[in-house]
Symmetry: C2
Subunit: 572 residues, 2 copies
């Protein structure tokens, strides 16, 4: 492509609403354009990268026998009502009506549609296993779209669904996808880690998130250097870890704590450590109050609470001050589980093992001490509610846990029979017996992967595309297009590289060399060949975007170098 004819509008200024490198650079390099908040268009250079990532995904999926198809993005409400998710999904789902007032949504995901198709088509065990996928635009009306392609309301996703005879079959499909995903992200040039993940609103049991490590990632993962443990903080199990404590249960006693409302204030006021206290957090779920109780020095993991309550995420709200006053009969800051009426209590599994705790008295300006589970209160649910923290004991090997930020670029789920049971997606087995299909689902955020690659591959001057996803492999920068010899050599190089099927840009714009180099760096083309003053001798300058060094070569050596580099990278 000749850059004089290319639709490219790079920006010198960093757009004010862009906070992270990928968002800034995608906008500055003119690769994406914002239409409205959280909705972007892909401009020619950016769309080439998207299509390359898609092609890598396609190739690795096909190698595993997965088959590509394309379903409608607009889905009828009926299917979502059948699964129950029409209501579960809440305001994140874009909804619309057609001219006959029939309800539809813009698909945030496609379990319903794929299960519906397969239940109608597949009848026999002979037709299983099956893995079908699509690459398509998905829609989620995010509350806070941000970070460009990282959390947008419209995004390109590859979603695959596997259908197996049994759990053993699912296991194979699942690990096949684990393998395909590892290859895909490796080919995309990403440093990533598969981490155990929460299955959230998708249902199911096992799940891995493929997380690209990045300081600007929205997710936090916990991992252990001593073993292979890695999990999202949402998901990471926490060990029960009881500190030294009293052996005897002491007598319950009210203590006057005027205006002492927070755990920190209480620690200071009573001069005790956090693990002696019991924290009570009040929520509202469908109009009813729920109290989560957990040791004072622990943080609540809301995802674990949501899972314990078996509710969709959006149904968990904080209780209002009015609610708190009504139920605890006290000002905010003095809630506790003892004597709390009409409130469901969910306790962390450490709580029953702790002795003589201090907690709110449900009475303004008072706490009580020597609270003991069983004797003084009981919970409706006891479970792990803890959010893992740096330095906690690794749940696998008890070594110290570390935390890191990351970007979720892919996720694989074992759905099991959740959808096949609801939709009646059954097959007849070898013994002519009906069985529910055992399902898995597997997603890759295509547009988010593009952003993650930039997060890991950039410098202060712009993007540094890995060769396999670069929009073009080579850029030929002609320093002075008015110089006949330079332009002639530039054209010659351009034609030779084109003939060898190299994706090449010829910067034939009548701009200063500085502008050309700045743009070449910004858009991140891996190999730059500069044709300048030594053109008359056939000498060009060869530079990799990822390195500082420049070398002078005869032009034919430059061509053979390019071909060699592409060959080494396995690019046709």
């Amino acid at each position: 492509m000749r850059m004089s004819r290319m639709y490219l509008h790079t920006l010198r200024e960093v757009p004010s609403d862009a906070e992270i490198p990928s968002h800034k650079l995608l906008l500055r390099a003119g690769m994406i354009k914002k239409l409205v908040s959280g909705v972007y268009g892909y401009m020619p250079l950016g769309y080439r990268v998207i299509r390359k990532i898609e092609q890598i995904i396609r190739e690795e999926m096909d190698k595993k026998g997965a088959q590509e198809l394309l379903m409608s993005a607009v889905q009828p409400a009926e299917l979502w009502k059948e699964s129950g998710r029409w209501f579960d999904f809440g305001p994140e789902m874009f909804r619309l009506k057609d001219r006959h007032d029939r309800e539809f949504c813009l698909g945030p995901t496609h379990e319903e549609v794929f299960t519906d198709i397969v239940r109608n088509d597949v009848k026999s065990y002979k037709e299983l296993p099956l893995n079908i996928y699509q690459i398509q635009t998905k829609y989620r009306d995010e509350k806070r779209p941000r970070f460009g392609l990282m959390r947008s309301r419209e995004f390109i996703m590859k979603d695959a669904y596997s259908f197996d005879r049994d759990w053993e079959g699912l296991d194979k499909s699942y690990w096949d996808m684990y393998d395909a995903y590892s290859k895909i992200f490796t080919r995309c040039g990403l440093k990533f880690r598969p981490v155990e993940a929460d299955t959230g609103a998708m249902g199911g049991s096992d799940s891995y998130e493929f997380t690209a490590l990045s300081d600007f990632g929205e997710g936090v993962i916990a991992y252990c250097d001593a073993c292979d443990f890695a999990a999202t903080t949402e998901r990471a199990a926490c060990l029960v870890d009881i500190p030294k404590q009293d052996l005897e249960e002491k007598e319950l006693r009210e203590i006057h704590t005027p205006n002492v409302k927070t755990i920190e204030e209480l620690e200071g006021f009573l001069n005790v450590e956090g693990h002696r206290l019991l924290k009570t957090l009040l929520f509202k779920v469908k109009g009813k109050l729920v109290a989560a109780v957990i040791r004072g020095d622990r943080e609540l993991n809301e995802t674990k609470l949501i899972n314990a309550l078996k509710i969709p995420e959006h149904e968990l709200e904080f209780a209002t001050p009015e609610d708190i006053k009504e139920y605890t009969k006290a000002e905010v800051g003095f809630a506790g589980p003892v004597g709390l009426k009409n409130v469901m209590i969910v306790a962390d599994e450490e709580v029953p093992k702790l002795k003589n705790l201090i907690t709110g008295a449900n009475k303004t300006d008072y706490h009580i001490e020597n609270v003991n589970y069983g004797r003084d209160f009981e919970a409706d649910i006891i479970t792990d509610l803890k959010l893992i923290q740096e330095g906690d004991k690794c749940p696998k090997c008890q070594g110290p846990v570390k935390l890191a930020r990351g970007i979720e670029v892919g996720q694989i789920f074992k759905l099991g029979t959740k959808y096949s049971e609801v939709f009646g997606a059954k097959y007849t087995d070898e013994n002519v017996k009906e069985q529910p299909m055992v399902m898995g689902c597997y997603g890759i955020g295509v547009s988010r992967t593009m952003a993650a690659i930039i997060e890991q591959h950039h410098d202060e001057n712009g993007i540094i595309w890995p060769l396999e996803v670069a929009p073009y492999h080579v850029i030929i920068s002609v320093v002075n297009v008015k110089n006949e010899e330079q332009m002639k050599l530039g054209e010659k190089l351009y034609q030779e590289l084109l003939n060898a099927n190299v994706e090449v840009l010829l910067d034939d714009r009548p701009e200063r060399a500085g502008v050309k180099f700045k743009d070449a760096d910004l858009i991140g083309i891996p190999i730059r060949i500069t044709v300048g003053k030594k053109a008359s001798e056939g000498i060009v300058e060869y530079k990799l975007r990822s390195e500082e060094d420049k070398q002078e070569f005869m032009y034919d050596k430059a061509v053979s170098n390019v071909l060699e580099m592409l060959k080494k990278a396995g690019i046709k």
Copy 2:
């Protein structure tokens, strides 16, 4: 691909709601699936065809210097309000609101978005011309979705937009696209005709529709064998053709025509020819009545009426019987332009030239004769309102016009400055003067093209894909998969063809040969190689889907025949 592992569910029965061959065959061959009325999913085989058509489009567009990008399908209402089409588009546009109650639509087309981008980016004449395109799913909430992919509510479209400095530039862009489209449809194996078309709601001046000829096409084209005239009937200009008639204007006279309401009844009752009569058709536009008057033996072309009124299509409604009674003071069937009050009159251009016509008297059971334009009534608009008919005089050469049915697979438009004026999409010319960009837009219905190919390429047994768009080039049918020699030769052929990059299916299903042949014919794979009893001698049967003949070949000759055929067809 091994068919034992392929997601393929062919149907023996013709689905009851499918009326035309492409719809029936796409469903029967398991290539598409209906989700709801007018919304289809593409199954693996069908999606391969879609992707091949897309690739052909991409290649031919890129050859013309057009650049691919991808814009959001969800578009903000603001842009559509800026162009005025938010209201014009009517119920055909899917509309929705986000969680903040902001209005959006699902794009039925993208003039607004593309013009918005270009107005923000392009400043100088040096950046023009420009042609940018996308291949994307579009949405139109059709009143009567039907014929499968032919008229659906969600469809895949390639839409391109060109931006030029002036009309001369647009002319080049326009004819470049004309050329690209001709190549695209030729490569898709279509018999087609570019016909002059109405520009309708898109605005603009010149337009060609690329029409694939088909008995089941929804559109009708008029053409002339004596010259190169070809136009949609909506668009086709009609000559003024006045029959022999009186020279003098006679006196107006009421005639009693009890219960004679239609033109046909009137012809019979008065024993006169249709051209002596004047037809009056009453419409309602935004609450006001409009009368279209035209010679009795002519048919009204509603598109010409809509264009004359400069209104969007959906605003033209038939007047109700109540309206007619109120305005004409008579029963339905006796309307006429003479003395008609508070009604806008639009007359066909023949009307002022006709003498002594017979028309309704606006009085129940009465007509009047000797009506003359000018003396007895006048029209607010005089224009061509005639629908062209078989045998009419060709507007170009006066030869006899013929009619044929066709499927609109593509359309090219000269938009001119319609959108650039409204959106302020201006550039600075060589003299530092601001100029509006001159635009064109160019669409191809990708999914509809797939259907049109089938309409032209099928027989009673199924689809007959042209090689270049076939989902696979070759199908190897192993007659008896339990026979070791047959299976071995089948596998050998399969591997050799795969190694030569041929797209090949191996029918290794444990089915009867009859079932395999039926499926192979139904899904329309161009080349079938049957491995049967003579496998032990290395002999296979070679058959083209498009021909009856079968030939016996040694298997290596079969391979070389395939390669030669693909090479001849220019397929890599």
